[in-house]
């Protein structure tokens, strides 16, 4: 259970999160920034519910109290060439 991967993109396990939370006694947001859980290539679309649950459980913090673990656009990784108008047809 300890080696359970929470965030696949950044390879963060439950153990990593628990240890970091214990060591730095941090808020959910700080824990996210330290471990990079949910901040990988997929933008947290795969693991966000799991990360949110684990973070609020570990830090005993009501997610509405502090700065929320916000979801920001773009909703898909997008390349600079796409933004520059060189997007392919698909």
């Amino acid at each position: 259970m300890q080696h359970l991967i929470i965030c696949r993109c950044e390879e963060v396990s439950l153990k990593d999160l628990e240890e970091t939370a214990k060591k730095f006694n941090c808020t959910a947001r700080e824990l996210k920034l330290r471990t990079r859980a949910g901040m990988g290539f997929c933008g947290g679309r795969t693991c966000r519910p799991a990360v949110d649950k684990v973070l609020t459980d570990l830090t005993k913090e009501n997610p509405t109290d502090a700065i929320p673990l916000k979801v920001s656009p773009p909703v898909r990784p997008i390349s600079l060439s796409d933004l520059g108008g060189k997007a392919s047809d698909d």
């Binding site: 696949r8 993109c9 390879e11 290539f41 997929c42 679309r45 795969t46 990784p77 390349s79 698909d90």
Partner: protein, 132 residues
């Protein structure tokens, strides 16, 4: 060709023979059928590792298979981060798997490079003295 493709399904019946398409994956040539995705064509050949994790090198392949998680991203015709689970194969497509990236923050990879200008000057002086 040995295939892992299900050609005779108990419910869906026999697989229709589609047009064959040839492509390369990591320098090796494979074939698949028209309308195959990159991931499904490779899976039919028993290839499940589509990339390595950039830092740890752990193998990755199909995870969500609906274009959501980007775990299957590969480089197609020199365009990086293309999702193998959504992209149909095309004739002579060149596909490269994702490799482990060099980690500049790992002290093991620093080697003997000087870290400050002072260290650089000292190392240059040492070289000069050694040559004398």
């Amino acid at each position: 060709m040995t295939t892992k493709r299900i050609v005779n399904h108990p419910v869906l019946g026999k697989l229709e023979e589609n047009k064959k398409i040839t492509f390369t994956f990591d320098g090796q040539s494979y074939d698949g059928y028209e309308n195959d995705t990159i991931a499904s064509a490779l899976l039919a050949h028993g290839i499940r590792t589509l990339r390595k994790h950039e830092e740890s090198g752990n193998p990755r392949g199909i995870y969500c298979n609906i274009g959501h998680c980007y775990e299957c991203r590969v480089t197609v015709d020199e365009v990086s981060n293309v999702r193998a689970c959504l992209t149909p194969i095309k004739e002579n497509m060149v596909i490269e798997s994702g490799k482990v990236q060099p980690s500049p923050l790992d002290p093991k990879n620093e080697g003997d490079l000087p870290r400050t200008y002072d260290e650089f000057i000292r190392s240059e002086e040492q070289k000069k003295n050694a040559n004398k």
